[in-house]
Symmetry: C2
Subunit: 242 residues, 2 copies
Amino acid sequence: MLGFITRPPRQLLSLLCIGYRLPRSSVLCTQPRECGIWLSLGGFHERGQDWEQTQKIYNCHVLLNNKGLVVAQYRKTHLCDVEIPGQGPMRESNSTMPGRTLEPPISTPAGKVGLAICYDMRFPELSLKLAQAGAEILTYPSAFGSVTGPAHWEVLLRARAIESQCYVIAAAQCGRHHETRASYGHSMVVDPWGTVVARCSEGPGLCLARIDLNFLRQMRQHLPVFQHRRPDLYGSLGQPLS
Amino acid sequence: MLGFITRPPRQLLSLLCIGYRLPRSSVLCTQPRECGIWLSLGGFHERGQDWEQTQKIYNCHVLLNNKGLVVAQYRKTHLCDVEIPGQGPMRESNSTMPGRTLEPPISTPAGKVGLAICYDMRFPELSLKLAQAGAEILTYPSAFGSVTGPAHWEVLLRARAIESQCYVIAAAQCGRHHETRASYGHSMVVDPWGTVVARCSEGPGLCLARIDLNFLRQMRQHLPVFQHRRPDLYGSLGQPLS
């Protein structure tokens, strides 16, 4: 989990914006190779090809394989323009462009991974669409606030897991970024039954969970919600992801 | 909250199936008149016009106004055909026909009420569609099981409230119906922030909550998720409800 959160957008935009062209010598690329692991990293501030025109970045979630290669990137599609009492206003769209597409889930040794970011979790359509496209694991690297965190973080992640019948992995930034912004932390992993199977506390930490795809398949068999949907009543979540 | 739950479908179907043609002398009609209240009742077993052909009922949610008149009815659209370990198999479709439509929200003195039933709560598309059609209060008369209840009841109701920014009222059957079926109870009211503002325990009970539409409107203003949706990515939940 990497990212910058700064107060004035100008300061954010003056930082080195790193995208998915990570140098091969970066620790983010060498670590997967050395440890034989995959990494989900976000949200990166990425300068897109439209940077010169827009002067805005993309909020980008990057997936690296165990060779340190970028195998997928997702640009956050729902921007967080909100004004939560007690948490201060946030206008992500001042500095960020919204992504234009969802990404098809990516096959990994742990299962098929769907990519999302933070505020996206308030939109069940996105997670359902990723699950319909084959996702078994949904990933939400996040920086929830100090007010919405205690109220919404766990309940939304658990609901996304239950209704989409996926594992949910939500790495979370934590602590104080500057005078007016703090993040809630509490990274967690939720299984498809909605049980929190691993979690961190407020501060920096590491948590581990076993991904059991047999359990996931059994659950989908016992409670076949995707066979029970009624697209005749509320549509079919648009075109399938290619 | 009224309903029958019996083990063999034949026994259920042999019971007097009452629909929305309630006799004016029924306590369900006199009570609203005497007390000046509205009643949401479900799930009724309703014999539809297709009863002779299908020999199946509809699982029906009925809304009575303060004159004891039926102002809306909703037939459950998602039937619960599941096999939860520890809770026993359930095949609602053996005895029940699925409803063919969603109902537009109904104006009441407490706010605009959207109608759903029990298992419907696993489908966020339905609650989002009702909210988009103007619902301020979502109602889920339910009979959750003894295994899914502790695991999913509260978290799904709270998520539906948070993401649709509606009050959620979920009256719940409780206790043992017969040797193999018990219902979880724990009726609750959730506000649009996701806080459980009233709840019963396992047994029969009554709970009261204040519906504050100013709070709801403020929340929608502060966290305008319905302005942030991306129908270009996942459709627009089908045709608007008429």
